[in-house]
């Protein structure tokens, strides 16, 4: 059982390495990997695909900056944030936006497990803790 799980993780990591080109997940490589699995149907293919999907999702999350905002945010501002994050992490970071009225005003940027925030709600929370 443990040996099978280890084998599945090893296969998923190998497929993931094949899917990354220059530190970026390549859609073409991913399509090729999926075709290979569909044709060859290795043992425990479903479990291997789940592990592969988790690795790809983690890698894509590392390359994506989720920008939560309250109020309008301009494209140049998003571009500046993407540029800054790309420079900081050393890989291409793209931005996606999502409205979050709880912020009241300001932005919250999430890259992987890292969170950067400059919002009214965070300042109020800081004020509440410091009192």
């Amino acid at each position: 059982m443990a040996a099978a799980a280890k084998q599945i993780q090893l296969l998923a990591r190998q497929l993931f390495k094949l899917s990354v080109v220059d530190g970026v997940v390549s859609p073409d490589r991913v399509a090729g990997v999926l075709q290979y699995i569909e044709k060859s149907a290795p043992a425990h293919s479903v479990l291997a695909l789940k592990a592969y999907r988790r690795l790809i999702a983690t890698e894509l999350a590392k390359c994506e900056a989720l920008v939560e905002h309250a109020g309008a945010v301009t494209a140049p501002a998003l571009g500046a944030i993407a540029t800054s994050m790309t420079k900081k992490y050393g890989r291409t970071i793209t931005t996606t936006t999502r409205a979050n009225p709880k912020l009241l005003a300001g932005l919250r940027v999430r890259v992987g497990d890292d969170i950067y925030e400059s919002s009214v709600s965070s300042q109020l929370a800081t004020l509440s803790v410091s009192v």
């Binding site: 945010v73 501002a77 944030i81 800054s84 009241l104 005003a105 400059s118 004020l127 009192v131």
Partner: protein
């Protein structure tokens, strides 16, 4: 001559006396012998046992007196020993009583000291608990006040902030985050 005459005179007087009182030498000798026999018999069969009995009783009386004296001396000695023992026992009893009183006083002092220490500790703990409770209440009150202030501020800002205000704040936040 005169001496011879005097001796003859004395002898005649003695003869006259014997004749006058009827003293016969042979009777006198027989009486002496019978008296000696009587004296011997009396001594042998009467006085000797009586004297032995008297001596025995005398010895017994002496022994009794001696025993009484010894008993008296022993009684006196016993009384002295008893008095000494009583005196010693009294002294020991006094020592024991004194030690008991001392131990009782020490125990009482120790108990009193421990009670004072316990009460002081309880008072200190109570004061500490009161202080902690006070600090806790103040902290809770401060936290609650801060929460109310923040909640009120959020509500006010949510109503009062315009889209332009939010856009301006977002631009500022973007510049801040881009400079991270």
């Amino acid at each position: 001559m005169s001496l011879l005459l005097a001796t003859t005179d004395a002898s005649s007087k003695l003869h006259a006396l014997q004749t006058q009182f009827g003293i016969e030498g042979k009777y006198l000798l027989m009486q002496v012998i019978s008296f000696s026999i009587l004296a011997f018999v009396l001594y042998r069969f009467f006085f000797k046992p009586v004297l032995a009995t008297v001596d025995d009783r005398t010895r017994k009386i002496d022994a009794g007196l001696k025993y009484a004296e010894e008993m008296k001396a022993q009684l006196a000695s016993t009384q002295q020993q008893t008095e000494a023992a009583l005196k010693e026992a009294q002294q020991k009893a006094q020592v024991i009583v004194a030690e008991a009183q001392k131990a009782s006083k020490e125990f009482s002092d120790k108990q009193q000291k421990e009670a004072i220490e316990r009460s002081a500790s309880l008072i200190a703990k109570a004061q500490e608990a009161i202080e902690l409770e006070k600090k806790k209440m103040l902290a809770e009150a401060r936290t609650e006040i801060a929460r109310l202030v923040v909640a009120t501020t959020e509500r006010v800002l949510a109503k009062k902030l315009t889209d332009a205000d939010r856009a301006g704040y977002n631009e500022s936040a973007a510049r801040e985050l881009a400079g991270v």
